[in-house]
């Protein structure tokens, strides 16, 4: 094997950092330039060339084609990948279930100093869009819906008539004294949220308006905290999905612009329903994050994408169908390139035998 052959082989290996379509179109040209640039006697690439080619290959794989639409679609595919990834991580993580009634009652009594008067009620299984209303007379109700990650136990307490601000301030002071950490951003009017090592609670005071019947109510919603392992997994899955989605989006757009008109129309037809579903998912999550931002972000908020995916069966079906359309669009983009008249694109004779 000659020095030039060894150098050629090394460059061919390095050119594998570029996408296959790029190597097919530009590989031989790039290889020619690399060999032209190599001084006589060189049989190994210079380090600067290695770094340069790896950087060029990664840039080519990560860079969407020019144009606002191409970049917008790439961002949407990337965000969808991130949200689906985090949703999958949530659904695969252990489901803690609602806390036991005794734990919830203890937390509520710590916060309010009031006794729970009625016996715990049955666990309520939530259905589709909402949990069923609680049976009258039960002051401790667990809500349990594993797919939706609804896992709370609500304790209802009936205070004597008091000023709401004073009631909330006293509860805030009690839980703080008991070692709970109150989220400052959650202090808003008649509500606040706090966490300790194992549990999170949200306290809300509802003021009744009835003249004869006392309707003031303190609702203390208690949940088990999302574990650090789950949060780590969800964050990792989000960024992993973001990167995977970006790579898929760039790849699809790079393939799209190389197809003929008729294939591009087919891809576009398949991609539009997917993009509508992706826009729904992204906008819901964005709206949820903005709302939570105002109320105070909590670890449970990482479940938002999954909750939307499973929110209501018609939405789940629509999103599933849009996902299938997305896969069809990718399949069409992956098929051999065709010219505008539908014939397979011929490679130019000069391009045959390109590196890789």
């Amino acid at each position: 094997m000659t020095e030039v052959d060894r150098l050629h082989r090394s460059y061919a290996r390095l050119l594998r950092t570029y996408p296959r379509w790029y190597r097919r179109e530009r590989g031989l040209e790039l290889m020619t330039t690399l060999l032209d640039d190599a001084e006589p006697g060189r049989h190994r690439p210079r380090w600067s060339t290695v770094v340069d080619l790896v950087r060029g290959g990664i840039t080519t794989r990560l860079r969407p084609p020019r144009g606002f639409i191409a970049r917008l679609i790439t961002v949407m595919v990337s965000l969808t990948g991130g949200l689906v990834g985090s949703g999958a991580a949530v659904s695969l993580s252990p489901y803690p279930g609602p806390p036991a009634a005794t734990e919830a009652i203890a937390a509520a009594q710590t916060a309010t100093g009031l006794p729970v008067q009625d016996v715990p009620g049955p666990t309520v299984k939530c259905f589709e869009t909402a949990c069923q209303s609680t049976p009258a007379g039960d002051d401790v109700v667990a809500y349990d819906e594993a797919p939706m990650r609804v896992d709370t136990t609500v304790v209802r307490l009936h205070p004597l008539h008091q000023e709401v601000a004073a009631l909330v301030a006293q509860a805030d002071a009690r839980v703080t004294a008991a070692g709970w950490q109150v989220d400052p951003a959650s202090r808003f009017g008649a509500t606040f949220a706090a966490v300790n090592d194992r549990l999170g609670l949200n306290l809300y005071v509802s003021v009744g308006t009835g003249d004869t019947v006392r309707t003031d109510l303190i609702l203390v919603t208690v949940s088990k905290r999302v574990s650090a392992a789950t949060i780590t997994a969800v964050i990792a899955a989000f960024f992993g999905g973001l990167l995977a989605g970006w790579l898929v989006g760039v790849w699809a757009m790079q393939r799209f612009v190389r197809h003929g008109r008729s294939r591009r129309r087919d891809i576009r037809d398949a991609a539009v329903p997917f993009l509508i579903g992706a826009a729904l998912l992204i906008s819901f999550t964005f709206a949820g994050v903005m709302t939570d931002w105002a109320d105070g972000i909590s670890p449970e908020d990482i479940q938002a994408p999954l909750v939307f995916l499973l929110f209501w069966w018609p939405i789940t079906v629509v999103l599933a169908i849009s996902g299938v359309y997305g896969l069809v669009a990718l399949w069409l983009a992956a098929r051999p390139e065709v010219a505008g008249d539908g014939r397979p694109t011929e490679r130019s004779p000069a391009s045959r035998g390109a590196a890789g």
Binding site: E29, G56, T60, G353
Partner: protein, 114 residues
């Protein structure tokens, strides 16, 4: 927005005649007095971008003994963009040169018109 220096020299290298990739590398090195040395990966990333923008186009291909040389030429929009850049650089240089001359830091140089 100002052109990055490699882009500026790539467009300048192609003003007189079409060049292939290695020819562009040599021309940029010469035009910048050796200050700027483009590597092939960087060069082709720039050529792709400039071709997508319509500032360059492929002039012709030459395939000899298993090697492929693709020649690039500067398009009219590319030349117009480079001319706009030159005008901007020149205007900035005139302003700076005038002020430096008043400070006595710069002598008039008829060769470059400043």
């Amino acid at each position: 927005m100002r052109l990055p220096e490699p882009t500026f020299f790539i467009l300048t290298a192609l003003t007189e005649r079409p060049l292939h990739g290695y020819g562009v590398m040599l021309a940029v090195r010469e035009l910048s007095d050796g200050r700027l040395e483009l590597r092939p990966g960087t060069l082709y990333t720039a050529l792709d971008r400039l071709t997508e923008d319509g500032w360059l186009s492929v002039d012709r291909e030459e395939a000899v003994e298993g090697r492929l040389r693709r020649y690039y030429r500067l398009t009219d929009p590319g030349a117009a963009r480079l001319a706009a850049e030159v005008a901007q650089v020149r205007a900035n240089a005139v302003i700076a040169a005038g002020r430096l001359r008043r400070r006595g830091e710069l002598r008039p140089d008829p060769a470059v018109g400043l």
